[in-house]
């Protein structure tokens, strides 16, 4: 239940939002601005957010978001006072506590407005009458952050953990059993984070080079080897034209892109990870290599 003192050990970080949940809870569904957490198929908490525009007055934005959330989630919201014991370490957060109900369920929740990043977040908890100190709900709220405190955004879900520079926005993602992919975009630099598993099975009959060649047929040239905190890796760096031999035609050379692809076997987590960076300018690849991959 939500009222007992369960330690929150599992960290979830998705698209800027980060919080901790009990071990038994898991991500049930997610999209770019929404995460649903459940326990054995029963919903526990739902988090939904939106960016608030500085040109629209906050009160109007707040009312719109509340109205939209009530309509979307098919719930009725009643305002509640802030629990007297509740404190959050982030002073830029404004909390608006509420209780909610619909035909089949009820619970409590809060709307958080961050004065730093102007993000409006609605967090609601299921099957809970009120917030209690040392409850899981209180723990989730206390650990919640909606923007990174450093210049890097953390991503932590389904056993994956990595960080990206804050100027990169998630443009696409795919979470299929055995294969995760996250695509980020900043101006015209593409960053793709990939993960395959289980690694021991995938690499049982082939080498990492063969595996990489199968997944990225465009890989050309020889790979250099290196070591990072996740173990040994292979790295390719090459230039891709619009079509084969396009680089030989000077007027097409401006359309070519420089690509860096790093793949490694994370033995501790039994996964194969890959990072692909591609940019129209070679120097950006070197900069990204230094800032994202650590040299």
């Amino acid at each position: 239940m939500l009222t007992d003192n369960i330690p929150l050990k599992k960290a979830v970080a998705w698209n800027g939002a980060a919080f901790k949940i009990p071990d038994a809870w898991e991500i049930d569904s997610l999209d770019l601005t929404h995460v649903m957490i459940s326990e054995n198929g029963s919903p526990r908490t739902e988090i939904k957010w939106t960016e608030s525009s500085p040109s629209i007055p906050f009160e109007k934005q707040f009312r719109n978001f509340m109205a939209r959330s009530q309509k979307l989630l098919k719930i009725i919201i009643h305002e509640e006072p802030t629990p007297p014991f509740f404190l959050h370490s982030n002073s830029s957060f404004d909390f608006f506590f509420f209780s909610w109900e619909n035909a089949s369920s009820k619970g409590v929740g809060t709307l958080i407005f961050c004065r730093h990043c102007r993000r409006l977040t609605l967090i609601r908890f299921f099957c809970l009458d009120r917030f209690l100190p040392a409850s899981s709900a209180h723990g989730v709220l206390s650990s919640f952050t909606d923007h990174p405190l450093t210049s890097r955004v953390s991503w932590q879900l389904f056993g994956m953990a990595f960080s990206t520079p804050e100027n990169f926005r998630l443009s696409d993602y795919s979470l299929k059993p055995g294969y995760f992919s996250f695509q980020f975009l900043s101006q015209n630099i593409h960053l793709t984070v990939l993960s395959w598993g289980p690694a021991l099975f995938l690499l049982a009959e082939k080498t990492l080079v063969e595996f990489a060649g199968e997944r990225l047929p465009e890989l050309t040239g020889l790979a250099v080897t290196g070591t990072c905190d996740r173990g040994n890796y292979l790295e390719w760096s090459f230039r891709q034209g619009l079509f084969k031999n396009a680089g030989r035609l000077p007027f097409l050379s401006s359309y070519s892109r420089f690509t860096l692809f790093r793949i490694g076997h994370d033995k501790q987590n039994n996964r194969i990870y890959g990072v692909k960076i591609d940019s129209p300018r070679a120097f950006e690849i070197d900069l990204m290599k230094g800032s994202i991959l650590g040299g």
Binding site: P177, G178, G197, P198, F201
Partner: protein, 125 residues
């Protein structure tokens, strides 16, 4: 007449079901590795009629074979008629160091396809 349509299982109910192997399945290991499961399948009515038209000794079933890879073999070995779906998922995730949610999706999809082929039946607890 009252609608006697069975209510669909909740996730929790589905995960507490016990998958059991079809006793008519034959298993053999090919030289190429993996595991081949051979199981009887009923002919479609059209092919039964065609058989009757072409010859006198009509066979009602034939054996279909499917080959399991290493991961499929692991799930198959966990389907022992004692473990429920949740235990199969947990053990499979532990075996391969997978996140439980990832294991849940892949194992349930695999069990569903085995069930559709008639290789396993699902016993309610």
């Amino acid at each position: 007449m009252a609608d006697k349509k069975k209510k669909p299982w909740t996730k929790q109910e589905a995960l507490s079901c016990i998958p059991e192997r079809n006793p008519g399945i034959e298993e053999f290991v090919p030289d190429t590795g993996g595991l081949i499961l051979s199981f009887p399948v009923m002919y479609k009515p059209f092919f039964m009629r065609l058989q009757r038209f072409l010859r006198s000794n009509v066979q009602k079933t034939f054996r279909r074979k499917i080959q399991l890879d290493g991961l499929g073999m692991d799930v198959w070995s966990l389907v022992d008629g004692k473990r429920d779906v949740k235990a199969v998922i947990k053990d499979f995730a532990g075996l391969h160091g997978l996140d439980e949610k990832e294991a849940e999706i892949s194992v349930t999809l695999f069990l569903r396809s085995l069930g559709q082929k008639g290789l396993i039946r699902i016993k309610e607890r």
